[in-house]
Protein backbone atom coordinates (compact mmCIF):
# COMPACT_ATOMS: atom_id res chain seq x y z
CA UNK A 1 0.00 0.00 0.00
CA UNK A 2 1.03 3.59 -0.29
CA UNK A 3 1.37 6.25 -2.94
CA UNK A 4 3.69 9.01 -4.00
CA UNK A 5 2.97 12.68 -3.51
CA UNK A 6 4.91 15.51 -5.10
CA UNK A 7 4.62 19.23 -5.65
CA UNK A 8 2.80 19.81 -8.94
CA UNK A 9 4.77 21.44 -11.77
CA UNK A 10 2.24 24.24 -12.01
CA UNK A 11 2.95 25.23 -8.40
CA UNK A 12 6.13 27.24 -7.86
CA UNK A 13 8.78 25.76 -5.60
CA UNK A 14 8.61 28.42 -2.92
CA UNK A 15 7.10 29.07 0.48
CA UNK A 16 3.98 31.18 0.66
CA UNK A 17 3.10 34.18 2.78
CA UNK A 18 -0.15 32.57 3.94
CA UNK A 19 -0.69 32.03 7.66
CA UNK A 20 -0.01 28.58 9.12
CA UNK A 21 -3.02 26.38 8.51
CA UNK A 22 -4.64 28.69 5.95
CA UNK A 23 -6.49 26.62 3.39
CA UNK A 24 -5.49 28.94 0.52
CA UNK A 25 -2.44 26.72 0.23
CA UNK A 26 -4.61 23.65 -0.25
CA UNK A 27 -6.80 25.37 -2.85
CA UNK A 28 -3.71 26.55 -4.75
CA UNK A 29 -2.28 23.06 -4.80
CA UNK A 30 -5.52 21.51 -6.04
CA UNK A 31 -5.73 24.00 -8.91
CA UNK A 32 -2.09 23.28 -9.80
CA UNK A 33 -2.65 19.51 -9.68
CA UNK A 34 -5.65 19.79 -11.98
CA UNK A 35 -3.72 21.96 -14.43
CA UNK A 36 -0.89 19.42 -14.47
CA UNK A 37 -3.26 16.49 -14.93
CA UNK A 38 -5.10 18.16 -17.79
CA UNK A 39 -1.80 19.18 -19.41
CA UNK A 40 -2.88 22.80 -19.89
CA UNK A 41 -0.14 24.79 -18.15
CA UNK A 42 1.09 26.21 -21.45
CA UNK A 43 -2.21 27.79 -22.29
CA UNK A 44 -3.56 28.79 -18.89
CA UNK A 45 -3.86 32.35 -17.66
CA UNK A 46 -4.70 32.87 -14.01
CA UNK A 47 -6.15 36.10 -12.64
CA UNK A 48 -5.16 37.07 -9.13
CA UNK A 49 -7.55 38.99 -6.86
CA UNK A 50 -7.07 41.61 -4.23
CA UNK A 51 -7.09 39.86 -0.89
CA UNK A 52 -4.75 37.48 0.85
CA UNK A 53 -4.20 35.84 -2.53
CA UNK A 54 -3.03 39.08 -4.12
CA UNK A 55 0.45 37.59 -4.45
CA UNK A 56 -0.76 34.22 -5.72
CA UNK A 57 0.94 34.88 -9.02
CA UNK A 58 4.21 34.20 -7.23
CA UNK A 59 3.05 30.68 -6.46
CA UNK A 60 2.25 29.42 -9.96
CA UNK A 61 4.42 28.74 -12.99
CA UNK A 62 2.22 29.99 -15.82
CA UNK A 63 0.91 33.30 -17.19
CA UNK A 64 -0.92 35.47 -14.68
CA UNK A 65 -2.68 38.80 -14.58
CA UNK A 66 -3.39 40.84 -11.48
CA UNK A 67 -6.89 42.29 -11.28
CA UNK A 68 -8.26 45.28 -9.43
CA UNK A 69 -10.51 44.41 -6.48
CA UNK A 70 -13.56 42.53 -7.71
CA UNK A 71 -12.85 42.98 -11.39
CA UNK A 72 -11.27 39.60 -12.18
CA UNK A 73 -14.41 38.26 -13.92
CA UNK A 74 -14.39 41.28 -16.23
CA UNK A 75 -10.71 40.73 -17.05
CA UNK A 76 -11.38 37.04 -17.58
CA UNK A 77 -14.23 37.99 -19.94
CA UNK A 78 -11.86 40.20 -21.91
CA UNK A 79 -9.27 37.45 -22.27
CA UNK A 80 -11.69 34.65 -23.03
CA UNK A 81 -13.55 36.63 -25.67
CA UNK A 82 -10.43 37.61 -27.61
CA UNK A 83 -8.48 34.36 -27.00
CA UNK A 84 -11.05 31.60 -26.49
CA UNK A 85 -8.28 29.01 -26.82
CA UNK A 86 -6.66 30.10 -23.56
CA UNK A 87 -7.80 28.44 -20.33
CA UNK A 88 -8.74 31.22 -17.96
CA UNK A 89 -9.55 31.12 -14.27
CA UNK A 90 -10.14 33.67 -11.55
CA UNK A 91 -9.45 33.01 -7.88
CA UNK A 92 -11.33 35.29 -5.52
CA UNK A 93 -12.20 35.78 -1.86
CA UNK A 94 -15.26 37.07 -0.02
CA UNK A 95 -14.60 40.75 -0.54
CA UNK A 96 -13.42 40.42 -4.10
CA UNK A 97 -16.28 38.26 -5.33
CA UNK A 98 -19.20 38.77 -2.97
CA UNK A 99 -18.83 42.44 -2.16
CA UNK A 100 -17.21 44.84 -4.60
CA UNK A 101 -17.20 42.32 -7.43
CA UNK A 102 -20.71 40.96 -7.14
CA UNK A 103 -21.89 42.67 -10.33
CA UNK A 104 -18.95 41.37 -12.33
CA UNK A 105 -19.38 37.73 -11.28
CA UNK A 106 -23.16 37.75 -11.75
CA UNK A 107 -22.90 39.21 -15.23
CA UNK A 108 -20.06 36.95 -16.29
CA UNK A 109 -22.04 33.94 -15.08
CA UNK A 110 -25.17 35.22 -16.73
CA UNK A 111 -23.45 35.77 -20.05
CA UNK A 112 -22.09 32.26 -19.71
CA UNK A 113 -18.46 33.34 -20.04
CA UNK A 114 -16.46 30.14 -20.47
CA UNK A 115 -13.97 30.67 -17.65
CA UNK A 116 -13.66 29.06 -14.21
CA UNK A 117 -13.86 30.81 -10.87
CA UNK A 118 -12.49 29.45 -7.61
CA UNK A 119 -14.29 31.27 -4.80
CA UNK A 120 -12.68 31.10 -1.35
CA UNK A 121 -15.37 31.67 1.27
CA UNK A 122 -13.88 32.10 4.73
CA UNK A 123 -16.48 34.49 6.12
CA UNK A 124 -14.09 37.37 6.69
CA UNK A 125 -11.76 39.86 4.97
CA UNK A 126 -8.36 38.36 5.67
CA UNK A 127 -5.75 40.58 4.07
CA UNK A 128 -6.99 43.83 5.55
CA UNK A 129 -7.08 42.40 9.06
CA UNK A 130 -10.39 40.64 9.67
CA UNK A 131 -13.31 42.89 8.76
CA UNK A 132 -16.84 41.72 8.16
CA UNK A 133 -17.60 40.17 4.80
CA UNK A 134 -20.94 39.66 3.06
CA UNK A 135 -20.44 36.00 4.00
CA UNK A 136 -19.75 36.63 7.71
CA UNK A 137 -21.99 34.44 9.89
CA UNK A 138 -24.68 35.94 12.19
CA UNK A 139 -23.18 37.02 15.53
CA UNK A 140 -19.66 36.40 14.22
CA UNK A 141 -17.27 38.97 15.68
CA UNK A 142 -15.02 40.78 13.23
CA UNK A 143 -13.15 44.07 13.49
CA UNK A 144 -16.07 45.91 11.86
CA UNK A 145 -18.72 43.91 13.69
CA UNK A 146 -17.07 43.90 17.09
CA UNK A 147 -20.32 43.00 18.89
CA UNK A 148 -21.08 40.26 16.40
CA UNK A 149 -22.81 40.58 13.04
CA UNK A 150 -26.35 41.81 13.66
CA UNK A 151 -28.54 40.55 10.87
CA UNK A 152 -31.25 43.14 11.46
CA UNK A 153 -28.58 45.77 10.71
CA UNK A 154 -26.54 44.14 7.94
CA UNK A 155 -28.66 41.27 6.69
CA UNK A 156 -27.85 37.59 6.37
CA UNK A 157 -24.68 36.06 4.84
CA UNK A 158 -24.81 35.90 1.06
CA UNK A 159 -25.05 32.43 -0.46
CA UNK A 160 -23.12 32.89 -3.67
CA UNK A 161 -23.62 29.39 -5.09
CA UNK A 162 -27.40 29.63 -4.71
CA UNK A 163 -27.45 33.16 -6.11
CA UNK A 164 -25.57 32.22 -9.26
CA UNK A 165 -27.46 28.96 -9.66
CA UNK A 166 -30.68 30.99 -9.90
CA UNK A 167 -29.51 32.43 -13.24
CA UNK A 168 -30.99 30.50 -16.13
CA UNK A 169 -27.89 30.50 -18.32
CA UNK A 170 -26.30 27.03 -18.13
CA UNK A 171 -23.34 26.68 -15.80
CA UNK A 172 -21.56 24.50 -13.29
CA UNK A 173 -22.00 25.93 -9.80
CA UNK A 174 -20.89 23.88 -6.82
CA UNK A 175 -20.00 24.37 -3.18
CA UNK A 176 -17.29 22.27 -1.59
CA UNK A 177 -14.99 22.64 1.41
CA UNK A 178 -11.36 22.11 2.37
CA UNK A 179 -11.87 21.22 6.00
CA UNK A 180 -10.75 17.59 5.85
CA UNK A 181 -8.90 15.25 3.47
CA UNK A 182 -12.16 13.61 2.40
CA UNK A 183 -13.66 16.97 1.46
CA UNK A 184 -10.39 18.10 -0.09
CA UNK A 185 -10.50 15.13 -2.46
CA UNK A 186 -14.08 16.01 -3.40
CA UNK A 187 -13.06 19.61 -3.96
CA UNK A 188 -10.34 18.50 -6.33
CA UNK A 189 -12.86 16.48 -8.33
CA UNK A 190 -15.10 19.53 -8.54
CA UNK A 191 -12.24 21.77 -9.65
CA UNK A 192 -11.23 19.27 -12.30
CA UNK A 193 -14.82 19.01 -13.51
CA UNK A 194 -14.99 22.80 -13.74
CA UNK A 195 -11.84 23.01 -15.87
CA UNK A 196 -13.08 20.14 -18.02
CA UNK A 197 -16.29 22.01 -18.76
CA UNK A 198 -14.12 24.92 -19.85
CA UNK A 199 -12.03 22.68 -22.09
CA UNK A 200 -15.29 21.51 -23.70
CA UNK A 201 -16.22 25.19 -24.16
CA UNK A 202 -19.38 24.22 -22.36
CA UNK A 203 -20.24 26.86 -19.76
CA UNK A 204 -19.24 29.15 -16.90
CA UNK A 205 -18.05 27.27 -13.81
CA UNK A 206 -17.67 28.33 -10.19
CA UNK A 207 -16.38 26.23 -7.31
CA UNK A 208 -17.13 27.82 -3.93
CA UNK A 209 -14.77 26.46 -1.29
CA UNK A 210 -15.68 26.85 2.38
CA UNK A 211 -12.29 27.66 3.85
CA UNK A 212 -10.78 28.72 7.16
CA UNK A 213 -9.04 31.85 8.38
CA UNK A 214 -7.45 30.85 11.71
CA UNK A 215 -5.76 34.21 12.26
CA UNK A 216 -8.79 36.43 11.84
CA UNK A 217 -11.17 33.97 13.47
CA UNK A 218 -8.84 34.04 16.47
CA UNK A 219 -8.33 30.31 16.73
CA UNK A 220 -5.81 27.57 16.03
CA UNK A 221 -5.83 26.00 12.56
CA UNK A 222 -7.32 22.80 13.94
CA UNK A 223 -10.06 24.67 15.83
CA UNK A 224 -10.75 26.67 12.68
CA UNK A 225 -11.53 23.49 10.75
CA UNK A 226 -13.98 22.59 13.50
CA UNK A 227 -15.59 26.04 13.52
CA UNK A 228 -16.11 25.89 9.77
CA UNK A 229 -17.69 22.47 10.09
CA UNK A 230 -19.97 23.38 12.99
CA UNK A 231 -20.94 26.93 12.06
CA UNK A 232 -20.56 27.33 8.31
CA UNK A 233 -21.53 23.99 6.76
CA UNK A 234 -25.07 23.92 8.19
CA UNK A 235 -25.73 27.28 6.48
CA UNK A 236 -23.50 27.02 3.41
CA UNK A 237 -24.63 23.56 2.36
CA UNK A 238 -22.31 21.56 0.16
CA UNK A 239 -23.27 20.14 -3.20
CA UNK A 240 -23.82 20.83 -6.89
CA UNK A 241 -26.21 23.73 -7.33
CA UNK A 242 -26.24 23.74 -11.09
CA UNK A 243 -25.00 21.46 -13.81
CA UNK A 244 -24.94 22.52 -17.44
CA UNK A 245 -26.85 19.40 -18.44
CA UNK A 246 -29.90 20.63 -16.58
CA UNK A 247 -30.77 23.49 -18.92
Amino acid sequence: MGKTFQRPEALADTTTHYCPGCTHGVAHRLVAEVIDELGIRGRTVGIAPVGCAVLMYNYFTFDFQEAAHGRAPAMATGIKRVRPDLVVFTYQGDGDLASIGLSEIVHAANRGEKFTTIFINNAVYGMTGGQMAPTTMPEQRTTTSPFGRKTDYTGMPIKVAELLAALTTPGYITRQTLISPKYINRSKKAIKKAFQYQLENRCFSLVELISTCPTNWGMTPIDALKWAEDKMLPYFKLGDYKLPEEN
Binding site: Y57, F64, Q65, E66, R71, M75, I79, R81
Partner: protein, 356 residues
Protein backbone atom coordinates in the same frame (compact mmCIF):
# COMPACT_ATOMS: atom_id res chain seq x y z
CA UNK B 1 -10.06 56.91 -52.52
CA UNK B 2 -13.57 58.32 -52.48
CA UNK B 3 -15.03 60.03 -49.45
CA UNK B 4 -18.06 58.84 -47.56
CA UNK B 5 -20.46 61.01 -45.61
CA UNK B 6 -20.49 59.60 -42.10
CA UNK B 7 -21.62 60.51 -38.61
CA UNK B 8 -18.63 61.11 -36.35
CA UNK B 9 -19.34 58.23 -33.98
CA UNK B 10 -19.75 55.80 -36.86
CA UNK B 11 -16.62 57.07 -38.59
CA UNK B 12 -14.67 56.54 -35.37
CA UNK B 13 -16.03 53.00 -35.22
CA UNK B 14 -15.07 52.25 -38.80
CA UNK B 15 -11.66 53.84 -38.25
CA UNK B 16 -10.85 51.26 -35.60
CA UNK B 17 -11.77 48.41 -37.91
CA UNK B 18 -9.72 49.87 -40.77
CA UNK B 19 -6.77 50.33 -38.43
CA UNK B 20 -6.86 46.62 -37.61
CA UNK B 21 -8.59 46.64 -34.23
CA UNK B 22 -11.33 44.03 -34.16
CA UNK B 23 -12.11 43.90 -30.44
CA UNK B 24 -14.55 46.28 -28.79
CA UNK B 25 -16.04 46.31 -25.31
CA UNK B 26 -18.33 49.16 -24.32
CA UNK B 27 -21.38 50.40 -22.48
CA UNK B 28 -24.04 52.65 -23.99
CA UNK B 29 -23.96 56.34 -23.02
CA UNK B 30 -25.14 59.42 -24.81
CA UNK B 31 -23.69 60.97 -27.01
CA UNK B 32 -21.52 58.09 -28.24
CA UNK B 33 -23.77 55.06 -28.29
CA UNK B 34 -23.74 54.97 -32.09
CA UNK B 35 -20.18 53.64 -31.93
CA UNK B 36 -21.40 50.54 -30.13
CA UNK B 37 -24.44 50.15 -32.37
CA UNK B 38 -22.29 50.41 -35.49
CA UNK B 39 -19.68 47.95 -34.25
CA UNK B 40 -22.34 45.50 -33.05
CA UNK B 41 -23.19 45.03 -36.72
CA UNK B 42 -19.75 45.62 -38.26
CA UNK B 43 -17.49 43.45 -36.10
CA UNK B 44 -19.28 40.18 -36.84
CA UNK B 45 -18.74 41.00 -40.55
CA UNK B 46 -14.98 40.98 -40.02
CA UNK B 47 -14.77 38.15 -37.48
CA UNK B 48 -14.21 40.56 -34.61
CA UNK B 49 -15.37 40.57 -31.00
CA UNK B 50 -18.16 42.87 -29.83
CA UNK B 51 -19.36 42.76 -26.24
CA UNK B 52 -21.57 45.17 -24.36
CA UNK B 53 -20.36 45.00 -20.76
CA UNK B 54 -22.54 45.51 -17.70
CA UNK B 55 -20.97 48.83 -16.72
CA UNK B 56 -18.08 51.05 -17.69
CA UNK B 57 -16.24 49.75 -14.66
CA UNK B 58 -16.48 46.21 -15.98
CA UNK B 59 -15.68 47.36 -19.51
CA UNK B 60 -12.45 49.02 -18.43
CA UNK B 61 -11.30 45.67 -17.01
CA UNK B 62 -12.40 43.71 -20.05
CA UNK B 63 -10.15 46.09 -21.96
CA UNK B 64 -7.34 45.45 -19.47
CA UNK B 65 -7.64 41.65 -19.67
CA UNK B 66 -7.84 41.58 -23.45
CA UNK B 67 -4.97 44.02 -23.88
CA UNK B 68 -2.80 42.19 -21.35
CA UNK B 69 -3.08 38.99 -23.34
CA UNK B 70 -1.76 40.80 -26.39
CA UNK B 71 -4.83 41.78 -28.42
CA UNK B 72 -5.74 45.19 -29.85
CA UNK B 73 -8.74 46.76 -28.11
CA UNK B 74 -10.95 49.82 -28.27
CA UNK B 75 -13.56 51.26 -25.98
CA UNK B 76 -15.58 54.43 -26.23
CA UNK B 77 -17.55 56.31 -23.60
CA UNK B 78 -18.55 59.76 -22.46
CA UNK B 79 -17.59 61.82 -19.44
CA UNK B 80 -19.43 60.08 -16.54
CA UNK B 81 -18.54 56.70 -18.04
CA UNK B 82 -14.90 57.70 -18.32
CA UNK B 83 -14.96 58.61 -14.63
CA UNK B 84 -16.00 55.02 -13.96
CA UNK B 85 -13.16 53.78 -16.14
CA UNK B 86 -10.61 55.92 -14.34
CA UNK B 87 -9.55 53.21 -11.95
CA UNK B 88 -9.12 50.77 -14.79
CA UNK B 89 -7.16 53.33 -16.80
CA UNK B 90 -4.77 53.81 -13.89
CA UNK B 91 -4.24 50.04 -13.73
CA UNK B 92 -3.80 49.65 -17.51
CA UNK B 93 -1.26 52.45 -17.60
CA UNK B 94 0.59 51.05 -14.60
CA UNK B 95 0.69 47.63 -16.26
CA UNK B 96 2.00 49.22 -19.48
CA UNK B 97 -0.69 47.74 -21.67
CA UNK B 98 -1.74 49.36 -24.95
CA UNK B 99 -5.39 50.33 -25.42
CA UNK B 100 -7.39 53.03 -27.17
CA UNK B 101 -10.05 55.03 -25.37
CA UNK B 102 -12.37 57.56 -26.99
CA UNK B 103 -14.24 60.08 -24.83
CA UNK B 104 -17.07 61.90 -26.56
CA UNK B 105 -17.39 64.63 -23.97
CA UNK B 106 -20.71 65.81 -22.61
CA UNK B 107 -21.72 68.40 -20.01
CA UNK B 108 -20.73 67.84 -16.42
CA UNK B 109 -20.07 67.55 -13.56
CA UNK B 110 -22.32 64.76 -12.29
CA UNK B 111 -24.97 63.58 -14.69
CA UNK B 112 -24.58 67.05 -16.27
CA UNK B 113 -26.07 67.22 -19.75
CA UNK B 114 -25.94 65.34 -23.02
CA UNK B 115 -24.72 68.21 -25.18
CA UNK B 116 -21.05 68.82 -26.00
CA UNK B 117 -18.43 70.03 -23.55
CA UNK B 118 -14.68 70.13 -23.18
CA UNK B 119 -14.81 69.64 -19.44
CA UNK B 120 -12.82 66.41 -19.20
CA UNK B 121 -9.54 68.14 -19.99
CA UNK B 122 -8.20 67.67 -16.45
CA UNK B 123 -9.46 64.09 -16.35
CA UNK B 124 -7.66 63.25 -19.59
CA UNK B 125 -4.42 65.15 -19.19
CA UNK B 126 -3.86 65.38 -15.45
CA UNK B 127 -5.11 61.89 -14.66
CA UNK B 128 -8.69 61.07 -13.70
CA UNK B 129 -7.51 58.03 -11.79
CA UNK B 130 -5.00 57.72 -9.00
CA UNK B 131 -1.23 57.67 -9.10
CA UNK B 132 1.35 59.15 -11.42
CA UNK B 133 0.28 58.34 -14.93
CA UNK B 134 -0.42 60.12 -18.20
CA UNK B 135 -2.46 59.31 -21.23
CA UNK B 136 -1.28 60.22 -24.70
CA UNK B 137 -4.23 62.49 -25.41
CA UNK B 138 -5.26 63.72 -28.87
CA UNK B 139 -8.13 66.11 -29.69
CA UNK B 140 -9.63 66.08 -33.18
CA UNK B 141 -11.46 69.08 -34.60
CA UNK B 142 -13.26 67.30 -37.45
CA UNK B 143 -14.62 63.90 -38.24
CA UNK B 144 -11.75 63.28 -40.67
CA UNK B 145 -9.23 64.23 -38.01
CA UNK B 146 -10.99 61.95 -35.54
CA UNK B 147 -10.70 59.09 -38.03
CA UNK B 148 -6.99 59.67 -38.53
CA UNK B 149 -6.26 60.09 -34.83
CA UNK B 150 -8.17 56.91 -33.95
CA UNK B 151 -6.40 54.95 -36.67
CA UNK B 152 -2.98 56.17 -35.53
CA UNK B 153 -3.81 55.62 -31.88
CA UNK B 154 -3.37 51.85 -32.03
CA UNK B 155 0.20 52.07 -33.28
CA UNK B 156 0.98 54.80 -30.78
CA UNK B 157 -0.49 52.78 -27.92
CA UNK B 158 1.76 49.88 -28.87
CA UNK B 159 4.79 52.12 -29.41
CA UNK B 160 4.53 53.41 -25.86
CA UNK B 161 2.76 50.46 -24.24
CA UNK B 162 0.37 53.05 -22.85
CA UNK B 163 -3.31 53.84 -23.31
CA UNK B 164 -4.15 56.58 -25.81
CA UNK B 165 -7.16 58.83 -25.23
CA UNK B 166 -8.93 60.47 -28.16
CA UNK B 167 -10.86 63.40 -26.73
CA UNK B 168 -13.84 64.26 -28.88
CA UNK B 169 -17.06 65.98 -27.95
CA UNK B 170 -20.75 65.51 -28.62
CA UNK B 171 -20.65 67.69 -31.71
CA UNK B 172 -17.88 65.70 -33.39
CA UNK B 173 -19.62 62.49 -32.40
CA UNK B 174 -22.97 63.49 -33.83
CA UNK B 175 -22.22 65.56 -36.92
CA UNK B 176 -21.78 64.17 -40.40
CA UNK B 177 -18.80 65.05 -42.58
CA UNK B 178 -17.11 63.45 -45.60
CA UNK B 179 -14.34 61.07 -44.55
CA UNK B 180 -11.82 58.67 -45.97
CA UNK B 181 -9.74 56.00 -44.20
CA UNK B 182 -6.14 56.28 -45.43
CA UNK B 183 -4.42 52.88 -45.70
CA UNK B 184 -1.18 54.42 -44.44
CA UNK B 185 -2.68 54.75 -40.95
CA UNK B 186 -3.45 51.06 -40.62
CA UNK B 187 -1.60 49.76 -37.55
CA UNK B 188 1.41 47.59 -38.23
CA UNK B 189 1.59 44.11 -36.70
CA UNK B 190 3.54 44.01 -33.46
CA UNK B 191 4.92 41.13 -31.43
CA UNK B 192 3.97 41.20 -27.76
CA UNK B 193 5.60 37.96 -26.65
CA UNK B 194 7.98 39.90 -24.39
CA UNK B 195 5.29 40.80 -21.93
CA UNK B 196 1.78 39.63 -22.90
CA UNK B 197 0.02 36.77 -21.10
CA UNK B 198 -0.86 35.05 -24.35
CA UNK B 199 -0.03 31.58 -23.03
CA UNK B 200 3.39 29.93 -22.87
CA UNK B 201 2.42 27.60 -25.74
CA UNK B 202 1.70 30.61 -27.97
CA UNK B 203 5.18 31.91 -27.29
CA UNK B 204 6.70 28.41 -27.44
CA UNK B 205 8.42 29.26 -24.21
CA UNK B 206 8.78 27.85 -20.73
CA UNK B 207 8.99 31.32 -19.26
CA UNK B 208 5.76 32.72 -18.02
CA UNK B 209 4.63 36.35 -18.32
CA UNK B 210 3.08 38.32 -15.50
CA UNK B 211 1.01 41.48 -15.88
CA UNK B 212 0.76 43.21 -12.53
CA UNK B 213 0.74 46.66 -10.98
CA UNK B 214 1.57 45.87 -7.34
CA UNK B 215 5.08 46.79 -6.16
CA UNK B 216 5.22 46.43 -2.40
CA UNK B 217 8.93 47.23 -2.35
CA UNK B 218 9.27 51.04 -2.36
CA UNK B 219 12.48 51.03 -4.39
CA UNK B 220 10.84 48.89 -7.05
CA UNK B 221 7.78 51.11 -7.16
CA UNK B 222 9.93 54.22 -7.47
CA UNK B 223 11.91 52.63 -10.28
CA UNK B 224 8.66 51.68 -12.00
CA UNK B 225 7.40 55.26 -11.78
CA UNK B 226 10.67 56.59 -13.18
CA UNK B 227 10.31 54.15 -16.07
CA UNK B 228 6.80 55.40 -16.78
CA UNK B 229 7.98 59.02 -16.55
CA UNK B 230 10.65 58.34 -19.15
CA UNK B 231 7.89 57.30 -21.54
CA UNK B 232 5.95 60.49 -20.92
CA UNK B 233 9.09 62.52 -21.50
CA UNK B 234 9.55 60.74 -24.81
CA UNK B 235 5.92 61.52 -25.71
CA UNK B 236 6.69 65.19 -25.10
CA UNK B 237 9.63 65.01 -27.45
CA UNK B 238 7.96 63.02 -30.21
CA UNK B 239 4.18 63.39 -30.10
CA UNK B 240 3.49 67.09 -29.55
CA UNK B 241 1.11 68.21 -32.30
CA UNK B 242 -0.57 71.51 -33.02
CA UNK B 243 -1.86 73.61 -35.90
CA UNK B 244 -1.37 77.33 -36.45
CA UNK B 245 -4.04 79.54 -38.00
CA UNK B 246 -3.50 83.09 -39.22
CA UNK B 247 -0.11 83.26 -37.53
CA UNK B 248 2.07 83.93 -40.58
CA UNK B 249 1.99 87.71 -40.11
CA UNK B 250 1.51 89.92 -37.08
CA UNK B 251 -1.47 89.45 -34.78
CA UNK B 252 -2.73 91.46 -31.82
CA UNK B 253 -4.26 88.56 -29.93
CA UNK B 254 -3.59 84.83 -29.74
CA UNK B 255 -6.40 82.32 -29.21
CA UNK B 256 -5.64 78.87 -27.88
CA UNK B 257 -8.54 76.53 -28.59
CA UNK B 258 -9.03 72.87 -29.50
CA UNK B 259 -11.61 70.53 -30.96
CA UNK B 260 -15.04 71.83 -31.91
CA UNK B 261 -14.39 75.17 -30.19
CA UNK B 262 -11.45 75.85 -32.49
CA UNK B 263 -13.68 75.72 -35.56
CA UNK B 264 -15.88 78.47 -34.13
CA UNK B 265 -12.78 80.51 -33.29
CA UNK B 266 -11.53 80.11 -36.83
CA UNK B 267 -14.73 81.68 -38.19
CA UNK B 268 -14.45 84.48 -35.62
CA UNK B 269 -10.84 85.10 -36.67
CA UNK B 270 -11.86 85.32 -40.35
CA UNK B 271 -14.57 87.90 -39.60
CA UNK B 272 -12.26 89.95 -37.33
CA UNK B 273 -9.58 89.88 -40.02
CA UNK B 274 -12.00 91.32 -42.55
CA UNK B 275 -12.73 94.00 -39.96
CA UNK B 276 -9.04 94.86 -39.63
CA UNK B 277 -8.21 93.05 -36.39
CA UNK B 278 -5.59 90.31 -36.71
CA UNK B 279 -5.99 87.37 -34.34
CA UNK B 280 -3.90 84.22 -34.52
CA UNK B 281 -4.87 80.78 -33.23
CA UNK B 282 -2.72 77.96 -31.99
CA UNK B 283 -4.82 74.80 -31.96
CA UNK B 284 -3.39 72.00 -29.82
CA UNK B 285 -3.97 68.62 -31.46
CA UNK B 286 -2.19 66.84 -28.63
CA UNK B 287 -3.43 67.84 -25.17
CA UNK B 288 -0.88 65.60 -23.55
CA UNK B 289 1.80 66.39 -24.47
CA UNK B 290 0.67 70.02 -24.46
CA UNK B 291 2.40 72.32 -26.98
CA UNK B 292 3.97 74.45 -24.25
CA UNK B 293 6.89 75.73 -26.30
CA UNK B 294 4.81 76.50 -29.38
CA UNK B 295 2.33 78.52 -27.33
CA UNK B 296 5.10 80.44 -25.61
CA UNK B 297 6.70 81.32 -28.93
CA UNK B 298 3.34 82.29 -30.39
CA UNK B 299 2.57 84.52 -27.40
CA UNK B 300 6.06 86.03 -27.52
CA UNK B 301 5.47 87.57 -30.95
CA UNK B 302 6.12 91.29 -30.59
CA UNK B 303 2.70 92.28 -31.91
CA UNK B 304 0.81 89.97 -29.59
CA UNK B 305 -0.75 91.77 -26.62
CA UNK B 306 -3.02 89.19 -25.08
CA UNK B 307 -3.78 85.46 -25.08
CA UNK B 308 -7.21 83.85 -24.88
CA UNK B 309 -8.00 80.34 -23.74
CA UNK B 310 -11.38 79.59 -25.29
CA UNK B 311 -12.94 76.30 -24.28
CA UNK B 312 -16.18 74.64 -23.27
CA UNK B 313 -15.05 74.22 -19.70
CA UNK B 314 -14.58 76.51 -16.75
CA UNK B 315 -10.90 77.04 -17.54
CA UNK B 316 -9.30 73.63 -17.37
CA UNK B 317 -7.06 74.25 -20.38
CA UNK B 318 -6.44 77.85 -19.28
CA UNK B 319 -4.16 76.62 -16.51
CA UNK B 320 -1.92 74.95 -19.12
CA UNK B 321 -2.08 78.04 -21.35
CA UNK B 322 -1.00 80.24 -18.43
CA UNK B 323 1.77 77.80 -17.64
CA UNK B 324 2.94 77.91 -21.26
CA UNK B 325 2.75 81.71 -21.57
CA UNK B 326 4.73 81.95 -18.36
CA UNK B 327 3.55 85.41 -17.39
CA UNK B 328 4.66 86.95 -20.69
CA UNK B 329 1.16 88.15 -21.66
CA UNK B 330 -2.17 88.37 -19.81
CA UNK B 331 -4.32 85.27 -20.35
CA UNK B 332 -8.12 85.52 -20.49
CA UNK B 333 -10.61 82.69 -20.38
CA UNK B 334 -13.87 82.47 -22.23
CA UNK B 335 -16.22 79.52 -22.33
CA UNK B 336 -19.69 78.11 -21.94
CA UNK B 337 -20.39 74.99 -19.97
CA UNK B 338 -24.04 74.11 -20.35
CA UNK B 339 -23.73 72.30 -23.66
CA UNK B 340 -24.16 75.24 -26.03
CA UNK B 341 -21.23 75.82 -28.33
CA UNK B 342 -20.29 79.52 -28.26
CA UNK B 343 -21.02 81.35 -31.54
CA UNK B 344 -18.42 83.22 -33.57
CA UNK B 345 -20.15 86.44 -32.54
CA UNK B 346 -19.70 85.62 -28.86
CA UNK B 347 -16.01 84.92 -29.45
CA UNK B 348 -15.61 88.18 -31.38
CA UNK B 349 -17.31 90.13 -28.59
CA UNK B 350 -14.94 88.69 -26.01
CA UNK B 351 -11.86 89.48 -28.11
CA UNK B 352 -13.05 93.02 -28.84
CA UNK B 353 -13.88 93.66 -25.20
CA UNK B 354 -10.26 93.05 -24.22
CA UNK B 355 -8.37 94.28 -27.29
CA UNK B 356 -9.01 97.95 -27.85
Amino acid sequence: MSKVLMKGNEAIAEAAVRAGCLNYFAYPITPQTEVAEYLAKRLPEVGGVFLQGESEVAVSYMIFGASACGERVLTTSSSPGVSLMSEGISYITAAECPAVFVNIMRGGPGLGGILPSQADYFQSTKGGGHGDYRLLCMAPASVQEAVEMVMQAFGLAEKYRNPVMILGDGLIGQMMEPVEFPEKFKAKPSNKDDWATNGMDTRKSNKRNLVKTLYLNPEELNAHNLKLKAKYDRMEREETRFESYNMEGDYTALIVSYGTMSRVCRTAIDILKADGLEVGMLRPQSLFPFPVKAIYEAAAKQSCEVVFSIEMSMGQMMEDVERSVCGLRPVHWYGKCGGEVPTPEEVMDVVRSIVK
